[in-house]
Symmetry: C2
Subunit: 309 residues, 2 copies
């Protein structure tokens, strides 16, 4: 028996088989876990079936006999529906099993969901993810997690299968959600700033490839500048991560900040640009499309668009 | 004769001996150039004299017999005064000599100064710098330069003495200034965003050192986040680069953007935070002091301050 085969195996239900959920389910199959998946899309279900995972007819069906439910949906409303909606997982999960929640949401929502699960002694791991579809596919995500030590212990092998970095941020739900929001706060501003600055560079007549080269080697660089500006240079707005994601995440951030009586003028300015971009019909395009909004507002011609909306 | 001794040596006048100018002058001395310096501050002049450089009584005095004048002042107004004010360098420079301008300024200002110098056949190199005092001291700056090939040829050994990266961005003055403005545009937003996000993290009860560790390994990272947040964690606001620098640079940026009819909502929001921080009396403190403004606006206690203003 190899070291790999001797590792603990779990019955894992993966709910939500988009680019992130599919990659995570696939990573779990690769590591030898018994995986059953569910997604409302038949196409997504068939894609997972081809990897050797089982397919369920509802979230609740998937959760039957699972010791771990991994929920990879977009927001707290979808997470709530997976748990408590028709065919939801809540009535089917066994006491002592673990619900891993990956959606980006307000910390108060993570606490609320955790409290409801505690009514039936189901453990809740507040575990937002970072890294994108490619890292999900290769099992190389970053997870920003908080929850009880017992919950962490029970899902250690599951987390190891999907992530190379697991931050254990504390024992209480809500901490993972909060740290993820801080990351999205910065990421959302940095993408909008990259677009604002690069379109201005074009307005000033600069060569954009040269500016990219100089800035990525200078103090003005950011992870998002380095990652997203090539989309602008290539005129390629096919969605790797869409404008609507930041409409959602900076919207959650503004709600949190308003409740805390905390001013976020930079995040607020960035959100307006994502809203304008979505309002102009580019909501499902890549988030670098914010550059097209700045271009439209200033008469700038960006490199030719391969996937205009 | 060693390879170093065989390299071309120039008579270089360095005008402005603050932390950047002093480091650059010192790097030139180290590389064997004949350096004469000037600064209105006697302390700054004495500090340079100790390195073996000569000291002049005015900018014009320094420029006499210099083939290169390196001007390391704060803005275009000071550059204008160095050139055309009382005791200025313009009447003293020989036709064919080169004026290297390092101040951050609007591209229109760089073009205007270059045109005036051309009246006497003095060459102008538009050469803003990036990198901070430590890199200035070690001759490891980044230079974002534009100007005629003849000007570049004449000052190659001077640039090599002070910088490890010299970007030749074009033949016209103004291009270097424009690229530097794009860098400052991003840098100014990223510092303010780092402050906005980290003080919110504190408001949400998160451990700031943990957040720093997670974010620097995640998509929310920026060069400025990584560099400036430790000042917040240490409560150390002694100025490495002051709030007033970004009041100036984002002010120039807003002037450029307004003239171009180009909207900069993120830069505008960031500038308001630098202004509020300067208005509260922290203009000469480190630019991470913007965090203290967010803290004051939200009742947050940051790590204890070692150098309150």
């Amino acid at each position: 028996m190899s070291a790999d085969e001797s590792a603990e195996k779990s019955n894992v239900a993966v709910i939500g088989l988009g680019s992130m959920g599919f990659g995570m389910a696939n990573s779990l199959v690769r590591c030898g876990h018994s995986v059953v998946g569910y997604d409302p899309s038949a196409t997504a279900r068939e894609k997972l079936a081809a990897t050797g995972a089982r397919i369920a007819t509802s979230p609740g069906d998937a959760a039957t006999n699972a010791s771990v439910v991994l929920c990879v949906v977009v927001n707290s409303a979808q997470t709530d529906a997976v748990l408590f909606g028709d065919g939801g997982v809540f009535p089917m999960m066994a006491p002592g099993s673990v619900f891993i929640s990956s959606a980006t949401m307000a910390p108060t929502e993570a606490k609320r969901l955790s409290s409801r699960l505690a009514e039936r002694d189901i453990l809740y791991l507040d575990a937002p993810i970072s890294g994108g579809a490619a890292k999900a596919a290769s099992g190389a995500l970053t997870i920003m997690a908080s929850g009880s030590p017992i919950a962490f212990d029970q899902v250690r092998h599951v987390l190891d299968a999907i992530a190379t970095k697991v931050y254990r941020l504390g024992d209480e739900p809500g901490i993972g959600a909060s740290v993820k929001m801080i990351n999205q706060h910065l990421a959302g501003i940095h993408i909008a700033a990259a677009c604002e600055a690069m379109v201005l560079a074009s307005k000033l007549g600069l060569d954009l490839s040269t500016v990219y080269e100089v800035i990525t080697a200078s103090a003005g660089n950011s992870w998002m500048f380095e990652n997203r500006v090539p989309h602008i240079l290539d005129g390629d707005y096919r969605p790797l991560s869409s404008v609507e994601i930041f409409v959602k995440d900076l919207g959650i951030l503004e709600d949190i900040a308003r409740a805390e009586r905390y001013p976020v003028p930079l995040a607020a300015a960035a959100l307006q640009m994502y809203l304008a971009t979505a309002g102009a019909g580019m909501g499902r395009d890549d988030d670098a499309s914010v550059a097209r909004t700045y271009a439209a507002l200033s008469g700038v011609s960006l490199p030719s668009t391969k996937a205009a909306s």
